[in-house]
Every structure is written in structure tokens, then in C-alpha cells.
């Protein structure tokens, strides 16, 4: 999608970010910088790409993967907790809250005997592939700030998103496709900023395929098609190519004219190739069934997951699959009526299990990271003594799989109620650093100079969590 811009434009587009010295040094030393060309990573990579399954709104970890028997034992009791919202609003600690037991029964699964609830029965079949991070914590108590933090490493200010940093660091494997895609993203809680390039050059921005709440048929690249017939399109394309030859004839070596002319060539190639990648009808019925495509509850998310796999095969670096909507309190946000988690689980469980199985079968899981989670977890107590749980940025669970992470492994702990991460804590900055590390990028070196200073995804924080990395075989 994004055309490798030429040196001159590259320089002018980043002019503000570079100091005078850097600018002239680049101009002299680099014959041709092609930003989207595949680049050499900082160190050998363990993974080539990431699929991020974003559970927007915040899945309750204590009802899914973080087993806390005390919640059942003390169900209904009033106990003091440092509620994150109350703390942020008023600085008050230790407010009394009514402990609420998990609504789904926990049991042990897999050869590893991992505790998990019956909320995600299909995912549970894959626990031996997963690496659970139970000691996660993050910034932001409300959805907007926490969602931005998850994607961009900052709760307020506009910063480049994770996928943009990955593209900036690694370039693309396939020039005929975007390198960073977000399927059916939400317009809310940061919207386009969650896949935006902020101050990085525009070539690194994410491409949205469709929108949250839209039809599956909308999940495509914009303007691949038009109302013109193919023969008309071809005729116009060829006439334009002729005109560009004329315009270039009087401007020999004008790189900006060359770039525009070349962008049409690339667009033409995309028009030919991208529809194939986006076309799910090429998959077998067995595969589609594996993802739950064709069944009412799972069809939509199943299609997104299958498209993610096809994109990965075609060389896309970062695919985000969104399960969410455009409201201020998205999908998983059960402040009340927690049982509704069950509906959302039904919609995503089989597609995700299908994706895991499919990636494994095709040998893609070895160099693909699957990353699952929401912007935060939920409280172990009932909100306002009601039937739901409030946001909990202080301790929650995500899992990662493939791409050089340990299998059948769990790292970190929350306290005995599942409220705050207490041991082997992993901040989202740390997870960002670790994911970049697996892609061959050093989060401290992956920086970009803007407005006079170097910016990083992890700001001045972040630690690579070596403990969860598999030994290289």
C-alpha cells in the first residue's frame, strides 16, 4: 500500500525531526533510503510477525485465566481494596468492596494442568501452547487512556502506535500490501490514533480494513475498485503512464515525479494482488469451519481471524484483529451483568482456537506471535455492590503464543484476590519491549527524533522479560 518514497522526499518529510547535522550526513552518506524496504533488525529475530487479538473493553482475568479460590471462599464479604478509580479521583486507599466470586467454574486443562475457567472452552484446548502473563499492569483507569497506552505507550499525548514502530524498524516483506493492518478497528477510545503513525513518516501508518460494527464485506482496502470497467481503467492507466513519460522527459531524474509515476504502478499491482489475499472464498470448508465461519455467533470474528492468517502468509508484519465496538464502554466492559462476558466469549473463542490450530498446522506459529488481551482487567469485587466488575489496570492477564515464547508457561502473579500484580510483575512497557525484542528490535535503540528529542515506544521505561522467552533450539 505504501510506496517507498525517495530520498529527497524522505528528507523533506522528516526535515523537522532531524538536526542540521543529521540531515546533511544522511544526504551524503545514503545513496537511496527506501523506508519500507525490509531492514536488518538490531539482533536476530525470533518472530517475523504479530497477530494481536484485541479484546476491547477489558476481559475479566479472574473469570477466565487467573484462578483465585479466595474469591469463591470470601464471596459476598466486604473487604478493603485500593480501588484504582477511587485512588485516581480522590487519593483514597482501602475502600470497602464486596468480593464477587467468578461466574465460571475453574478446572485444570492440558498436559500442563493449567487452571482456567469454562469461559473459553475452545481456547482451553490450546493452553499447552500459551504463555500466560498474570502479573501485568498498565496505565489509565478509563478506556480511552488505557487503550491508547496499550497501543501507543502513552495515555494522553499522540504517539506512534506499536505497529507503526514495527514497520519503522523492520520495513515490509511485501511491497504490494500494507505492512500494518488493523481489521475492523473501533472509532472510539483513541480511534485512528491506535493505529496511527503520529510523528513518524506517514508510510508507517496502519491501514484500517473496515470498521467496528461494519459488515464483513467492508473489511477491505479502500479504492481497490471503482465504478469503471476494467478495460476503461486499463486505458486510463496507460494514458496516464504515457503522460508521465512526457512530463518526465522534460524533468530528467526528478525523483518526485518518478515517485508519483511509480506509485501508480504499485497501486496497479495492488489492485491485482490484494483482492486474492482478502478473498476468503479460496479457503476450504474445513478451514472455514475451524474458524466458526458460517455460524451466526462466530462468523464475524472468524472471518477476521482467517483474514489475519492470510495476511501473515502474505508478509504483513502486524495484524490487529479487533473485537469491540464504537461505544464509550466497549464490548467486554461489563460494569453490570457480568454474565454477558459469556456472549462475547462465544463470539471469539472458536475463531481464536481455530486460528491457533491453523497457524500450528501450517508451521506458522513458530515465527508468528499471537498476542491476546484487553486494555486492562477487571476488579475482583462487584462494582457498587452490583452484578458487574469495574476496570482494573493494577493487575490482569494477557497471553502470548508462538514466536519464541515459552509454551505451557505462566509468569507472574496477582495477589490472592487477583487485584494487584505482586510478583514477577510485567508492565505494558515491559511487554512492548519484549514483543519488539522477539521481532529483533531493541526497544531502547528503536527511536525517532522529533521536536528536538528522541522518542521511543517505551519512553524511558521497559524491560525485556527474559523469563518468558524460550531457549533457542
Amino acid at each position: 500500500m505504501l510506496f517507498p518514497i525517495t530520498r529527497r522526499q524522505w528528507l523533506s518529510s522528516t526535515g523537522c525531526g532531524f538536526g542540521a547535522l543529521a540531515l546533511s550526513a544522511l544526504a551524503q552518506a545514503t545513496p537511496k533510503v527506501v523506508p519500507l524496504q525490509a531492514k536488518v533488525p538490531h539482533h536476530p529475530a525470533r518472530a517475523k510477525r504479530i497477530i494481536f487479538l484485541f479484546m476491547q473493553g477489558g476481559v475479566s482475568h479472574v473469570d477466565s485465566f487467573d484462578y483465585k479460590p479466595r474469591l469463591t471462599k470470601d464471596d459476598g464479604k466486604q473487604m478493603p481494596f485500593d480501588d484504582a478509580r477511587i485512588l485516581a479521583n480522590s487519593g483514597t486507599r482501602g475502600s470497602n468492596q464486596r468480593v464477587m466470586k467468578p461466574l465460571w467454574k475453574f478446572d485444570q486443562y492440558g498436559e500442563s494442568g493449567r487452571w482456567a475457567s469454562s469461559l473459553f472452552p475452545e481456547m482451553n484446548k490450546h493452553v499447552d501452547e500459551l504463555c500466560f502473563l498474570h502479573g501485568l499492569h498498565t496505565e489509565g483507569v478509563a478506556h480511552g487512556p488505557a487503550t491508547l497506552f496499550l497501543h501507543c505507550g502513552n495515555t494522553t499525548q499522540a504517539r506512534p502506535s506499536f505497529g507503526s514502530w514495527v514497520q519503522y524498524g523492520l520495513g515490509t516483506e511485501n511491497e504490494n500490501l500494507p505492512g500494518f493492518v488493523s481489521i475492523a478497528p473501533s472509532a472510539g477510545n483513541g480511534g485512528a490514533r491506535n493505529y496511527g503513525n503520529a510523528f513518524l513518516p506517514a508510510v508507517y501508518q496502519g491501514t484500517a480494513l473496515g470498521r467496528a460494527g461494519g459488515l464483513a464485506s467492508e473489511n477491505t482496502i479502500k479504492h481497490l475498485d471503482s465504478t469503471l470497467s476494467e478495460s476503461d481503467r486499463l486505458k486510463r492507466f496507460e494514458l496516464l503512464r504515457d503522460l508521465h513519460k512526457e512530463q518526465l522527459a522534460v524533468r530528467p531524474n526528478d525523483s518526485s515525479y518518478e515517485a508519483v509515476a511509480e506509485s501508480y504502478e504499485l497501486a496497479r499491482r495492488m489492485q491485482k494482488n490484494a483482492p486474492d489475499v482478502l478473498d476468503l472464498s479460496r479457503e476450504t470448508e474445513t478451514t472455514k469451519k475451524m474458524y466458526g465461519i458460517g455460524e451466526k455467533t462466530t462468523d464475524s470474528f472468524g472471518r477476521q481471524c482467517l483474514m489475519a492468517r492470510r495476511m501473515c502468509e502474505a508478509g504483513v508484519r502486524f495484524v490487529q484483529v479487533n473485537y469491540g465496538d464504537n461505544t464509550a464502554n466497549p464490548a467486554w466492559d461489563q460494569h453490570s451483568n457480568l454474565i454477558k462476558h459469556g456472549d462475547h466469549a462465544m463470539a471469539v473463542d472458536r475463531p481464536i482456537a481455530g486460528l491457533m490450530q491453523d497457524l500450528k498446522q501450517r508451521g506458522l506459529l513458530d515465527d508468528t506471535i499471537v498476542w491476546w488481551g484487553g486494555e486492562f482487567g477487571r476488579t475482583p469485587y462487584a462494582e457498587k455492590n452490583g452484578t458487574g466488575r469495574d476496570h482494573n489496570p493494577g493487575g490482569f492477564t494477557m497471553w502470548v503464543a508462538g514466536g519464541g515464547f515459552k509454551k505451557a508457561f505462566a509468569f507472574g502473579e496477582t495477589d490472592e484476590f487477583g487485584h494487584m500484580a505482586v510478583r514477577d510483575k510485567v508492565h505494558l512497557h515491559d511487554l512492548h519491549a519484549t514483543l519488539l525484542h522477539q521481532l529483533g528490535l531493541n526497544h531502547e535503540k528503536l527511536s525517532y527524533k522529533y521536536a528536538g528529542r528522541d522518542f521511543r515506544l517505551t519512553d524511558v521505561h521497559g524491560r525485556v522479560v527474559e523469563e518468558v522467552l524460550a531457549k533457542k533450539s
Binding site: 472510539g188 486505458k235 515525479y257 505482586v422
Partner: protein, 931 residues
Amino acid sequence: MRSALILTVLFGCACPLMADDAKQRGEELFEKQIRPVLLKHCASCHSDTAQAKGKLKGGLNLDHAKAWTVGGDSGPAIVAKKPNESLLYQTLLYDGDTKMPPNGKLDDATLSAFKTWIELGSPDPRVSTLSKKQLGLSLEAGREFWAYRPLTKPIVPTANDPSWNTNTIDRFVSAGLQKQKMIPAPQASREVLARRLYFDLTGLPPTPEQLMAFINDKRTDATERLVDELLKSPDFGLRWGRHWLDVARYGESLTLRGFLLKNAWRYRDYVIEQFQEDRPFDQFIREQIAGDLLPHTSPEQRSRQLTATSFLALGNTNLEEQDKKLLQMDVVDEQLDVITKGFLAQTVTCARCHDHKFDPIPTKDYYALAGILRNSKSMNHANVSNGIEVPLPINSTLEATIKQGEQKIASLEKELKQLQGSTTLTKKVLSINEVAGIVVDDSAAKKVGTWQMSTSTGTYIGAGYLHDGNEGKGDKSLTFMADLPTAGKYEVRLAYSHSASRSTAVPVSVFSADGETTIAVDMTKAPGLEGRYVSLGVFRFEKSGQSFVIVDTKGTKGHVTADAVVFVPLDDVETKKKPVVISSEKDGSTSKIKTMEAELKVLKAKLPLRPTVHSVLEEAKPEDVKIHIRGSVNNLGALAPRAGLQVFSGHSLEAIPAGQSGRLQLANWIASKNNPLTSRVIVNRTWHWLLGQGLVRTVDNFGTTGEKPSHPEMLEALAQQFIDDGWSIKKLVRSIVLSKTYQQASRFDGLAQSEKLDPENRFLSRANSKRLDAEVIRDAILHVAGNTQPNPTGPTFPASLNSDFGYKATDKVRSVYLPAFRNSPPEFLEAFDLADANFVVGARNTATVAQQALLMMNSPFVLSQAEVAAASLTKLNLPTEASINRVCLQCLGRPPTSSEAKILKLAIADGMTWAAIYHVHLASAEFRTLE
């Protein structure tokens, strides 16, 4: 008091006697138990090694006594012999906000070792290998840096070529080229110059008629005449206003939740008018920073000055940040960023957490400036905070009408309230169907804990009401979940049963699209509405968003009751289909209530709106702020009295009178001829907007990490001239575009040689060719098609719009009038790098990406405009050759070359439509490039 003091002194004296012993024991303990822990758990972030690598966290080094005595950003790590007052020990205890080490609390034995070690005076035998390195440029050195030096009047050099000796610009440029032994490019052709002037000054291409008129104008002052005409054209304001809107990070909505800034358009129009009328730029600065505080002689002037302050209020604020202290400082930071980058090209906000790493801007200066803005209120805080809107002055007739209407409404409301309060219900029991609105009866509520049904007070909806039996407080709640038919605003009412035995403060929480709001309901009192309901307020709900009410029992004393929750739709009358038969009673007061409510609604709808603008308000008690250590609102250091930047010598902020924020003084300090940066920065921006790159190419950064000017003396001379000319942008623009420097060709025979000698064109030896801005490309397409709508007045999106999500602009207005929505920027503009409304954008990006090609080839917008253009062409009934000529003049500002004409003629003969011919011209590289 005195004896305590003496005791302390005595105790202090007694210590040295024991010191040797304590020191020895302490050192032993240190070696055995403390040092290994520091090494294992702390060294990666808090050691000499970490410091040398620039990885020191929190500024704290624990590698030797000298370092931890001074401590990090939060102050000394250890208070001698007082473990409980020592930050280090508290942090290890996991007691406060900071908990270390991050991976888990140390075991009790280790903690007690630390405690003892500190009690023993924390002896530490290690020494440092590092010397402290100073950050950034010192203030003294900074005063010598070119950008901070006061303006002077440089001597204008003389050019050898007399034709280059007629104005300041050409004299400087020519002298520079002479020094480099370079020659300037030839002057651009008439047709290239015309296209350049039209686009640069109006943002539109010349029509073939305008183009030919200029080419055929043989008068010696033809160019001056054209320039003056274009400067006067209303399109100048539209084009140049947009330049400033880029700097002002102008947006009409917020990213989070897509909230709309419904009055932002007033600021946009103000900016356009400013450039059109060419009011003095220093006054423009003052108005934007402190327009609300400036004197005024007419309501119009007051209006304009208030509108200007929207500049401070249009940032992309995260209103739902829950830590409101932090939110406030984030907003201040954003305002400071747009002020200092926009007017001074300084990255002051780098100094929020630490002294600026490169520029002579200490953190103290940051908080001195932040203190000024902190005294201006930008929000009213709530779960989701609200920006400030200030009414504009209106004429006396409108004022009278509004006042009259408001009085009528107020008296009617009062009457209604009395009536509602006094109404005695005869029909005390209502079925659910008899209640208007969306009713959630207690029977449908989700119960937590045991609730008992009762009918004993005799007034209720449905089968009865619920009460908590006045027991199990905090273990019980009721959740009323509504399935609302449409998104929009609803009044939420709670029906309850009152009596003296009830709780006086029942926490009732409404969960809406704006988050949660808790209201304490006094159930000892009779409900005010119809003796049955209390209004919980008006809330916004989304389709499939949250819409529920929780009645909690926590902390209540006395019975808690709940009968029903009713959501009364306010937006959409259609949904209120249910009959409004509620309580029939003896005196007919209910029907009277209904009539009055209807009347009230009509009155409110008829009441003209008071025009408002997004602005700020002065806080009642202005004060200085303290330095926020590492930018944290919870870690305050020394007071930073409000002031300007210290690095300017001889130009400080005038004294801030007691009771004032200092914003007016800040405005005057910036909009001053003595401010070394202000005039330089805007002159350089103007140069950039006209020539494609500034004399300082980092137009938003004149600090040490920015570039130095290519022609420092010329920049100074122009800045001085700009001030002498009364801060007139038009005079500045005129002097630049009439220079030979500006009028050079970008393409000429010696180009290759010129590029070799001056690869980046830093010596201005030719014109730069530029990619047109997004708005200009779109406007040019519409212009070629002859398909623009008249410029709108007033708001540019429907008043009924609730958020910017998914908004698609379809108007054919000039691009500056398309809603500047942060979540849904116009697709065409987005593809061509429109300014990101999150940042000060002095220089646009110009990427070339395939998405642009797809858009140009396939988008319905481009295809349809090509059709419209073709239809107009066909009406002219020109011969083929003349038609081809016209298409090229319209799109490229020149006739076709003979070989182009041949290609196009063949294409037409081959059956290609005129729409297709237009289409490929609009898509071509030359269309979007300005030579």
C-alpha cells in the same frame, strides 16, 4: 517545647561517641546483606553503570553515599538513622506509590537488615567513579546562541548585478551566491510565475482566461498588479488562514469519544478574517493568548478577542483522565506547547520532567510558564470533564428577547415545581403500561442480596416496591438495566417509596455514555415529580452502550427502597408513543402539569441560543506552582514564580499584578518587538509557506537541535522590517513574492549544475518545486470542474451531530470549510498528508504513497469531478485541438507540448472520453506539483 529541643540537641551530641562502633557494625551488615541486594535488585537502574549508559531511573543512583544522600528526583533516599522517614526504606516496604524492587517485595529478613543498617547511620564505604555532567546549554551560553540574541539591524550587502540590487532579499541572496561563486537561476516564465502566484496566494489555479490575461499583460508592473489583486482576493484569507490553522493544531472534535467542539468554527473564521484583513500580527498573538483580558471599545471587538482565545481551548484533550490533577497539567502542557512552538519555535515542553537536555530551558522555566496557564481554568471537572464555553456579547435587542424568554421559563418552571410537589395522587398504583418512557420495574431489576417486596405505603408502579429490610448494608444492590430503542439524551427518573424510616442518602449511580454519575437520594422526603419520582438528571446514551442504574445500600442508615427506573427520551418524540395517562386526580392538576410541561418545551425550543466560544476563564485566586519533579503531580519541589524564559537577556515578563494570572503579561512578552524569537519565527514561517522551505528549515524548532538559518542576517533584516511595517503579513508576502529570488525558475538548462553545487538549495540558487497541500489539490480539482459551493457562514456540520465517528463530508466547499474532525478527517485530505491536529504543524509532510494513486484512480470524488469538468467543456463546443489545449491550461497551467497533443488526439480518436482525459490530467504528477 524548649525541653524537647534540648533533648534533641543532647541526643545529637551523644551520637558521635557511639559512632565508631555503629559504623563498624553497619559496614559489616552492609557488606553481608545490603550490598548483594543492591547489586542484584537495584543496580540495573540505580548505579554508576546505569548512569553512564543514560539508563538511570528516577535520577537515583545507589552506588555510593554521595549519590543517595543527594538522592534522585524525589529527594534524598535515606534520612540518617530514620528508616521510617527514608524514602528508600518506605519504597522497599511497598508502602507508598512507588514500590521497589519492581519484581516483588524483598523478604522480611532483608527488610529488617535495611532497617538496622539505616538506624546504624547507613555507612557505605563505596566511592563514585563518575563526575556529574551538566545537561543542556547553560543560560550564559544560551544567550550567545543566534536565536536568543536580540534583534539588530544588519547591514544589507550590495549585489554585483544591478538588477539584483533593488530589494533587501535579492541583495542578501545575491551576495550569498557571489560568495559561493554561484549564479542564480533564470527568472521563471510568465505561465509558471502566474501558476505559482495564484496557488501560493489564493490556493487555487488560474483559469485559462486569467493565465492568458497575465501572459498578455505587457505593462512593466504587470506582476505587481497581479500580486496586489491576489492579495486583495478573499481567497487569500482562506489560503493563509489555513496555514495558521496548521500551527494552531485546529480541530473541531476530540479523539476520545468523538466529542464535538461545536463553536470551533468561530475561531476558524476569525483566523481567515485576520489574514484577509491583515490586522497586525502582534495584536493577533495577544488576542489568541489573552483576548479575554484585553480592553475593547465595541461588542464586535470584544467578540473577536474572545473568539481568538479558542486557540487555547482546541487541544485534543483527554477529558476522561481520572486523575484530574494530572489532566490539568496535561492541558497546561498542551497549551504551553502550542504557544511556545507556535510563536517562539521552542520545545519548552521537553523541560516538563527535567531540565531541557539541549536548550537553555531549565525545568524551573517550564513551571514558571506553566504557572501562568495553570491559573486559567480550561475545564469543569467531572468523570468526563467539560471544556469551558464563554458567551459572546450580543446586541441589545437579542439580549432583551433572550432575557424575556429566560424569565418566562424560570417562572413557569417554578410554578410547575410547586404544582408537582403539591399534587396529591388519587391513582396511587400504576401499571407499567401507564407510565410514559422506558420503564424498568423493580420486578425486572437484578437483585444482589435479599430484597423484600412491599405495598405498604400504597404508592407504586407494578406489583409493589422493594426495600432492603434495613439490613445487610453494602451487601445488597439493585441494577435496573434498560434496553433503549435509540441513542440520545434521556432524563432518568427513579421511583421510590418515601417515609421517615428511610435512608437520607441512598447512593444511586447512573451508567451512561458519559461514564458513571452517583447521586445521593434522600428517601425520607417525598419525591418531587408527581409525588413518585426524583429526577437523576439528563444523560447521553449510546445504542448498545451502557444504560443502567444501580441502587446501592452501602453506607446507608434506614430503609432503602426502589420502585422503578424510567428513562424519558428527550431527543426523539416518536419513541414516546405510550399514552401519557398517569395519575388521574381530583383537582385536575396532572393534566395542568402536562400542559405546562408542553408549554415549557415550546418555550425552550424557541429561545434563541446565546452564541458561545471555546475559551478559558481566570481562576479566582491566581498563584504560582511548584516544580513537579519528573513531571509528577504527586511529587512537588520548589516554587517556580511565574515568569518568562530566563535565556532572553533584557526581555523579561512585566510584573504580574496581584490577583492576575499573568496571561496578559505573557501575551505582551511574546508579542513584543523585544522578543528575539517572535518576529523571526513568523517571518521564517511565511518564507517556508512561499518558498517551500524556511530559512530555518526546522520551522517549529529554533532551539539547538533545530537547524541554523541559511541566511541569518537576512532573516534578521526581514524580521526587523516586519516590525517596522506594523507586523503586516501582507506586506511581508508582497516583498517576498516580488523579489527575483522568489521568481526564479525551478527548471532550467543549468539545473543539473545548480543541483550539484547546491544540492539542498540552501543558497536559494533556484526555486523549489513543491507538492501542493492536500486542501489545495482538492480545491484545484473542484476549481477545474467549476464545481465549488459558495463559502458557508456559520457551523459546517449539522447541530444534531452527536460525535464525529464515521462522519463523511460530501460538501463541495473549499477544503478549509470541511469539518476538521480528528476521528474522521476528510478522506481525500488524509491521503495527501493534511496537518495532524494533535501537533503544531509548521511544515507539512509530503509522502508519496500508493493509497494516493488508488484514490486518484478510483475514488468516486475524482471520477465525478472529471465528469463535471468534461460536461462544461463539451458545452463550449470547441474543436478537438482547442479542447485539448483548454484541459492542459486548466490542469497544468500551460498548453500541451506537441507530442502530448499528439498522444491526446490519438486517445480521443480511440474513443477516450473527455472525462477520461480530465481524469488522467488530475491524477498526473504535474497537477499536484508547483514549480
